[in-house]
Amino acid sequence: MTRPALPLWLTLALRHPLVWPAATLVCLFVVDVVHRGNFLSITLLGGHLFGAPIDILMRAAPLVVVSLGMTLVIATRGIDISVGAVVAIAGAAAATVLADDPSRVGAAFGAALVVGLVAGMWNGLLVAFVGMQPIIATLILMVAGRGVAQLLTGGQIIPIGAPGYLFAGGGYFALVPCAVWIAIAVTVLTALIVNRTALGLFIRSIGVNPVAARLAGLSSQAVVFGAYAFCGVTAAIAGILISSNVRSADGNNAGLLLELDAILAVTLGGTSLLGGRFSLAGTVLGALIIQTLTYTTYSIGVPPEATLVVKAVVVLLVCLIQSPAARAFAFHQLRRIALARRARA
């Protein structure tokens, strides 16, 4: 084979699934640093850390959390397009509790989480036990969920003023935004569940070959149901973070299109939409890529009307870079050009 010989460590590193998402994130950072030299500088002000990276982390927190749940669902060959609606319901449920009595912060958190769990269980029920196709099953809640949220809020945007609740999405703890801590906690917890119990093995088996998994004595229905329930809970946590951050519950717009960002984050992280192998770390990187990209398009002064197009182009490029087939094609073309040049010289 006439490939140029790369050192072994580099070949192995390039084969690691996290290399490309990590490289993408670094590229985005480089663009930001080139544009604004002090991009990476973090200052300590009144016991809080401030700076662009902290800002990105904080804003990415809800997406990270939802995407983790989405990763497990996608790994079982499913998809959950209702997470945006669940975010809205969870926020609305918390706001309703707080509207009655602003001191019942714990009850508000609890209400949001329970609502999210029930929503996830509903999806799981339809997919695992009724046997509906995941996209249709969750489409029901995607549409109906917004309606439920609006019923809860009475079609109004309910402001939230309870300091304890606002702490979750806007407060600081040990220098770092509380939202970031929550995202870290959910990430660690998910990783523990997946790696320290057999669920990781079960989810991968079901994703790769559901028939074989069932014949091996695995109760795939329970595992799939669990994945959707978990996804519902992560959406509820995101709902708490978002409603607390914007200090209101908006049944109409909270978490709008969040499901698409979450699916994108999972894909950017290297998890196949066909199910099977998944990477939680990749998903976290994917969510950070999306938030950094949003930040970058604003900060380098892309006109607001063009941001979505720029975002789409970058996402397309990232997807192409991650595709081995596309990389091989590009590599081949580059080599041909190089050879042609050498021949001319």
Binding site: F202, N209, V211, A212, L218, S219, V223, G276
Partner: protein, 505 residues
């Protein structure tokens, strides 16, 4: 047979990373002959075919078609030159009609639109050539696999093939269907077409071949006239062992005397049935005994296994485990009651291809333990290595993906998956399908050794000789019904054949 070969290779060589898949292979195929390629898994048969059909390019050597050197860089070029290939799995579109499948991609047109009348007429004619009459407007999947294969042949023939390559075409056919396929092949041979045939079945090789080329470790071991090559010699040449042929002949003797049949059965099924799938059926499997299920494809063999294992739900009858009536409504229930099942379709129902050997081995045991009690990583590795050694699984290490292993090794991993659960009754559905001869013997040896330790086994195979050889008792199935049970001296291949054929003969 004419004097000059239609297809010839000289010094064909092809390597893959770490493997010399083809090593200076000379091969000849004459028009009007059926030439069988034999060899174990990994002997280079598939690579040879892939090189002949333009899937892979050779690194050295030459392919000559009717005496002229040719280079195929794509399968399409090989097809255009008259080399048609049928792969193990039928490569057609099951949702299209028979006629569409035969003419897909080159539909005759009339005024720019597809000319359905001509297509149907010509499809019928193409099938008539093979002595078949089908409703060509029906979708392909309404016909059994064997018929689909005939359609694939009709498609190949309708484009003026000179050479027909068949890669294990019979692995999913029952005996009657094989006979039918062979009839068609003989007809094609008589019309001067050169046929290259790959199979693992020894009997079929002798039934159809004019000549046999044996391959071993990427090299051509030799080319023989089928009539001059005794089966023992053939096996010895394939596996490269002198005693392999002996083993084949004496395997029957090696089988110990039947253990007490009157022992209390581990599993007893009474009137187990499912409407449209299986008629009420009684079965008993004793610990330490092998019950063979013999019958044609579709006779209810696999269906019986699936009902007993809870993969499908029975709608009548009762299953007793050690005398107690149990409900087996899912594989999970069955596993809890000490049952294990190696399914017929290894790829689709057995292996979890992307996962490692270790993960595949621990899967059933872990499923039984539940998600909370995870088997420690170190214990998982221990288990995997234990079985890799015990069953002689050939792999780089336990972390290799199971999908990369050969069929025989995948089967051993599946066996390991179940052995890890310490089952009391193991259901083996075609455990040796698509596995080379040496591995076949090895797997059957292991099965018998397990049985000697008190494991009950329900053994299903379409090779009657294999069933007769290993089983203590044989239940014969016909038309989804148990027609007889043979034990002791009554077991003979002939008798089983007669029972299977029943009044149809």
């Amino acid at each position: 047979m004419s004097a000059s070969p239609i297809l010839e290779t000289v010094g064909l060589t092809r390597t893959f990373p770490g493997v010399r898949a083809l090593d200076r292979v000379d091969f000849r195929l004459y028009p009007g002959e059926i030439h069988t390629l034999m060899g174990q898994n990994g002997a280079g048969k598939s690579t040879l075919i892939n090189v002949l059909t333009g899937v892979h390019a050779p690194e050295a050597g030459e392919i000559r078609l009717a005496g002229e050197a040719v280079h195929f860089s794509t399968p399409q070029e090989a097809e255009a030159a008259g080399i048609q290939t049928l792969y193990q799995e039928v490569n057609l579109c099951p949702n299209l009609s028979v006629a569409e499948n035969i003419f897909a991609g080159r539909q005759p047109r009339k005024r720019g639109l597809i000319d359905w009348k001509t297509i149907h007429r010509r499809a019928e004619a193409a099938l008539a050539e093979l002595n078949l009459s089908l409703d060509v407007t029906q979708s392909l999947d309404t016909y059994p696999i064997a018929m689909q294969q005939m359609v694939a042949i009709a498609r190949a023939m309708s484009v003026d093939a000179r050479i027909l390559i068949l890669d294990e075409p019979t692995s999913s056919l029952d005996e009657g269907e094989v006979a039918r396929l062979f009839e068609v092949l003989r007809k094609l041979k008589a019309s001067g077409i050169a046929i290259l045939f790959v199979t693992h079945f020894l009997e079929q090789t002798y039934a159809i071949s004019d000549r046999i080329t044996v391959m071993r470790n990427g090299e051509r071991e030799g080319e023989y006239l089928a009539a001059d090559l005794p089966v023992q010699t053939l096996v010895a040449k394939m596996v490269g062992l002198q005693d392999a042929g002996e083993r084949l002949t004496h395997a029957e003797v090696a089988h110990g005397p039947a253990t007490a049949t009157d022992a209390e059965p581990y599993l007893a099924a009474q009137g187990v049935a499912r409407r449209g799938v299986l008629n009420p059926l009684d079965l008993e499997v004793q610990p330490g005994q092998i019950l063979g299920l013999a019958g044609l494809l579709g006779s209810g063999r696999t269906e019986t296994a699936r009902l007993l294992f809870g993969a499908d739900r029975a709608d009548a009858g009762a299953v007793r485990i050690q005398g107690k009536v149990v409900k087996l409504t899912s594989p999970r229930d069955a596993v809890r009651h000490g049952l294990a099942y190696c399914p017929e379709d290894r790829k689709k129902e057995g292996i979890v291809a992307d996962l490692s050997i270790r993960e595949n081995i621990v899967l059933a045991l872990q499923a039984q333990l539940g998600w909370w009690r995870m088997i420690r990583r170190s214990r998982q590795r221990e288990l995997a290595n234990e079985y890799i050694e015990q069953l002689g699984i050939k792999a780089r290490d336990a972390e290799q993906a199971i999908g990369l292993l050969s069929g025989g090794n995948q089967q051993k991993v599946l066996l390991a998956r179940w052995l890890a659960t310490k089952p009391r009754l193991l259901i083996l559905d075609e455990p040796t399908r698509g596995i080379d001869v040496a591995a076949k013997f090895e797997i059957m040896d292991r099965v018998r050794a397990l049985c000697a330790k008190g494991l009950g086994i329900l053994f299903i195979s379409s090779e009657i000789s294999e069933v007769v050889r290993v089983s203590d008792r044989i239940a014969v199935l016909r038309d989804r019904r148990k027609v007889a049970e043979l034990s002791g001296a009554a077991r003979s291949e002939h008798e089983v054949y007669d029972l299977i054929a029943g009044d149809r003969r």
